[in-house]
């Protein structure tokens, strides 16, 4: 390790396993200097949150520390005695949690919450002045009225600021941030990130920033440690790791990350991350790795320090090709000028009697064959409601939906079989989109049987073909959804929609619950399907990078209205509406920034 003796944080050989003996994280060694920021990156199941919690001396119930030491500012953190560890929390190290809404005690006023933290580490009673100072630090109002509010009376961004104020209340030298912006809107996220950055530079604060989002991490981190299956696979200066990754997984992760400024073809990582119980003896990434050799499956590569100051856990690190961003995507030319789907002056309303809420209004657009139209907006912008109106799950309050020039009835059950067949939808949550009590095969076959009148044998053949199309092994058909990973489930959901033989496919945030490497693979499937089957695609998302990757044209929605429309190129590069501009400015980009590099060298 490159840890200097006066390192603020020093983690050595940390290994944590479940009580059953399955390893969760293994051989984690980290070091961090005063005032530096480490980005801890990994996808779900990589163990990054376990490491983060352990930095606070907290070992989750059901887990135990096998070996390893953590030292912060020269003081050892006791990993076996919760009571002793608790004395260090807040004073030496503090946490900004993932979900601000559930992390604040609903029965305590804001002032009380902050006072509790202050009193835990100072003797005596904390007064309103001290509470006010803590709030002021994160630019929250310091009025008595604000301190007397309950958490539910704050917005998500304000709640997170309160938690940041708690984390800083006792001025610890190290703050751990566990996906602190994941649940927030992109604009709020940008504000919170700016706030964190500012506090960091003002206060010589060292930070460990845990996230699955490379783009977000790249905005803050000096150093990045990438975790895969419980181990660090690459660790080094941020600019180096992001521009010249040496581990094939890091490289794959970067290649999977969409970007809204330079749209490009994504390269997803094939396969699925190994489960906790199935970690192989050799390199855990080997099954998904393009450059694996026989040795990779037999022995575990060590985390080898390289000449350039980073460490990589790969036998073949030398062979890792430089980053190759796929060619910029050429916009597909619509095959026909005639729209298949036409939405005109649509208005949709939620609620009943008295308490109505207009979710969408004045919505008009057209989708042609082979065209992908993206509907972009934050949560609450009405985009999902529009999708539900199109497929007949929600009756429109005004306006109409036309398919091939024919007006559709408001509700699905009033539409003809062929109309239902030609317009299909894929939903957001992969854990809810499949019936947990039916075999996957049966669910994919159902639309073919119901809407196309296929015989049992024909449907079976169709299922086999569809599985191939969405790149799923045929044997998965025999399984129940709970035996599948999120990405697999979402592909099954796509196959189910395709089984109807649709002309239009509505994708409602289909990748937002997926890891980035899986998202890339699913997007790839969708793009290919769109080309080959000449589908009209309505792609609903809040992620501008995804828009740039898949869409030909874009509608930007805010509060149920269209605020901007145009081709992807126009909207993303020359936005005219202030809201679009704000969204674009706030969207994080993967960058090994000059600014960050400059800052680091300045300090040295």
């Amino acid at each position: 390790m490159t840890a200097s003796p006066q390192a603020l944080l020093d983690v050595t050989d940390l290994t944590i396993e479940l009580r059953s003996g399955l390893p969760v994280v293994q051989d984690i060694s980290l070091a961090l200097n005063r005032g530096a920021t480490l980005g801890l990156v990994g996808e779900s199941g990589s163990g990054k949150t376990t490491v983060a919690m352990t930095l606070l001396g907290y070992v989750r119930p059901g887990m135990r520390v096998v070996h390893g030491q953590i030292t912060i500012a020269g003081e050892g953190i006791d990993l076996r005695d919760e009571k002793a560890a608790r004395r260090a929390r807040g004073r030496l190290v503090s946490l900004v949690p993932q979900d601000p809404a559930t992390s604040l005690n609903p029965a305590l006023r804001i002032g009380g919450t902050i006072r509790d933290v202050l009193e835990a580490h100072t003797s005596g009673h904390a007064n309103d002045v001290a509470v006010g100072e803590a709030l002021d630090r994160v630019h929250l109002p310091i009025t008595g009225e604000f301190m007397r509010r309950f958490p539910h009376q704050l917005s998500g961004g304000q709640q997170q600021r309160v938690l940041i104020a708690c984390a800083l209340a006792c001025s610890p030298p190290l703050v751990v941030l566990d996906e602190p912006t994941t649940g927030l809107d992109v604009v709020t996220q940008a504000q919170i990130l700016a706030q964190i950055d500012q506090l960091h530079s003002e206060r010589e604060l060292a930070m460990v920033y845990v996230s699955h989002d490379l783009a977000v991490v790249s905005q803050l981190a000096d150093r990045i440690a990438v975790m895969y299956a419980g181990r660090i696979v690459e660790h080094g200066p941020a600019s180096m790791v992001l521009t010249r990754p040496r581990h094939p997984y890091t490289r794959g992760l970067i290649g999977s990350s969409p970007d809204h400024v330079t749209p490009r073809q994504l390269h997803g990582i094939p396969g699925v991350a190994v489960g906790l119980g199935d970690r192989p003896t050799g390199c855990a990434f080997a099954p998904r790795c393009a450059q694996r050799v026989a040795r990779c499956e037999l022995e575990l590569p060590p985390l080898e320090p390289q000449q350039d100051g980073r460490s990589v856990r790969c036998f073949e690190a030398e062979r890792t090709p430089p980053l190759q961003f796929g060619a910029p995507l050429a916009p597909a030319t619509p095959a026909s000028a005639e729209p298949i789907l036409l939405v005109r002056d649509l208005k949709a309303v939620h609620g009943t009697r008295g308490h109505t809420f207009t979710a969408a209004e004045d919505i008009s657009f057209a989708v042609r064959r082979s065209e992908c139209l993206a509907l972009v907006g934050e949560s609450g912008s009405g985009k999902s409601t529009i999708a539900r109106v199109i497929v007949g799950l929600h009756p429109p309050a005004a306006g109409e939906v036309q398919l091939d020039g024919r007006r559709l009835a408001p509700l699905a059950k009033e539409r003809s079989r062929d109309e239902r067949r030609r317009c299909q939808i894929v939903f957001q949550n992969p854990y809810e989109s499949l019936n947990p009590r039916q075999k996957v095969e049966e669910q994919v076959a159902r639309p073919a049987r119901l809407l196309r009148g296929f015989s049992r044998a024909d449907a079976r053949a169709a299922v086999t073909e569809l599985f191939e199309r969405v790149r799923l092994p045929t044997r998965l058909g025999e399984k129940f959804p709970s035996e599948l990973s999120g990405g697999e489930r979402q592909r099954v959901a796509i196959a189910r929609a395709l089984a109807a033989g649709p002309a239009v496919l509505i994708c409602d945030e289909v990748t937002s619950a997926l890891d980035v490497s899986v998202q890339a693979a699913v997007l790839d499937v969708l793009i290919e399907l769109q080309r080959e089957l000449e589908l009209g695609l309505v792609f609903i998302t809040h992620n501008l990078g995804v828009v740039a990757t898949v869409a030909d044209s874009v509608l930007v929605l805010t509060r149920g209205r269209i605020c901007e429309r145009g081709s992807v190129n126009e909207v993303l590069h020359h936005p005219s509406d202030p809201i679009t501009q704000q969204l674009l400015a706030a969207a994080p980009r993967l960058r090994a920034t000059a600014k960050r590099d400059a800052l680091v060298s300045e300090r040295a």
Partner: protein
């Protein structure tokens, strides 16, 4: 489904199963080994054990052991019929109301609320007042008293399932309501139902027994454990066994069923902490802890 019998491996589950098996054996096989008929007068009233009567005689002079061996069948058959009927009724109401929304929903669930506004036994007494008492009334009455609770549970489980994307997908592809109820909703509310089976059955035994005890169900000289407790209270100081033995058997049955039910619902993936639906549906609804289907990423 793979873990169908997992509950039998917990200690509580095993203990409960053994108790239930013993009580069931006594109830079902008892009549075959009974020394006397259930309504055969064989000695002086209220005699303590001895003289050919292992458990003594009851207030009329029947052999207590024989009454005990004959008296379990009706305890079990009444409870089972009432539970089955209550489940059928409650599930139907809950499924239909939960899926249909609108006027049908409000109508059904408001009627359920009205029944729930009465203490269960009181509602049963009102039924008895209006139609008199008999075995049929007993079964139907207990079923009607239980159905609202079950309906509530199925209702909220259905509501929760019916907003799931796979149900929306089924609606969008134009499946009939019957197909949606059968293929999508019922299979996914089933675990909730099974998890509640144990408690409902326990409650059925309690309620039918209470009604028999109050003299509003089976009538003497029928042999029934609950009835025995009631009729032999007058000779408690002469031959307490005539009360203690049937009381112990009923307690063993309800405790056993409850332990098994608890073990089943835990094995169904309802964590021990979200079981309150079994304890009390109303409280469970209040806390919003009803869905039993384990979902979510398996880390």
């Amino acid at each position: 489904m793979r873990h169908r019998l997992r509950f039998a491996r917990t200690r509580r589950g095993q203990f409960g199963l053994v108790i239930v098996a013993i009580v069931l054996a006594i109830a079902l096989l008892g009549p075959f080994v009974s020394p006397h008929g259930p309504s055969q007068l064989t000695g002086a009233p209220g005699a303590p054990p001895g003289g050919g009567h292992l458990l003594g005689t009851d207030y009329l002079g029947h052999d207590v052991l024989s009454r005990v061996l004959w008296g379990g069948r009706s305890v079990i058959s009444l409870a089972l019929s009432a539970t089955a009927l209550g489940f059928a009724l409650g599930t139907t109401i809950g499924l239909i109301a939960g899926y249909s929304r609108g006027i049908v929903d409000s109508l059904l669930m408001r009627s359920v609320d009205v029944i729930l506004a009465f203490p269960p036994l009181l509602f049963f007494l009102i039924i008895v007042t209006s139609v008199g008492y008999s075995e049929g009334v007993l079964i139907c009455g207990v079923a009607v008293v239980q159905a609202p609770g079950i309906a509530r549970i199925v209702y909220s489980a259905t509501r929760e399932v019916s907003v799931a994307a796979y149900v929306e997908a089924a609606v969008a592809r134009g499946e009939t309501t019957a197909a949606i109820l059968r293929r999508e909703l019922l299979p996914n509310t089933l675990p909730t139902l099974i998890a509640n089976l144990g408690l409902t059955l326990t409650y059925s035994v309690l309620l039918t027994a209470a009604v028999n005890f109050l003299g509003l169900g089976l009538q003497p000289p029928a042999a029934n454990w609950a009835l025995m407790i009631s009729e032999n209270r007058t000779i408690l100081s002469l031959n307490p066994w005539a009360v203690v033995v049937p009381a112990t058997l009923i307690a063993a049955l309800t405790i056993g069923v409850n332990l098994v039910g608890d073990a089943i619902s835990i094995s169904l993936g309802r964590s021990e902490t979200t079981v309150d639906a079994r304890v009390d549906p109303a409280a469970a609804i209040m806390q919003g802890n009803l869905i039993a289907t384990p979902q979510g990423p398996e880390t």
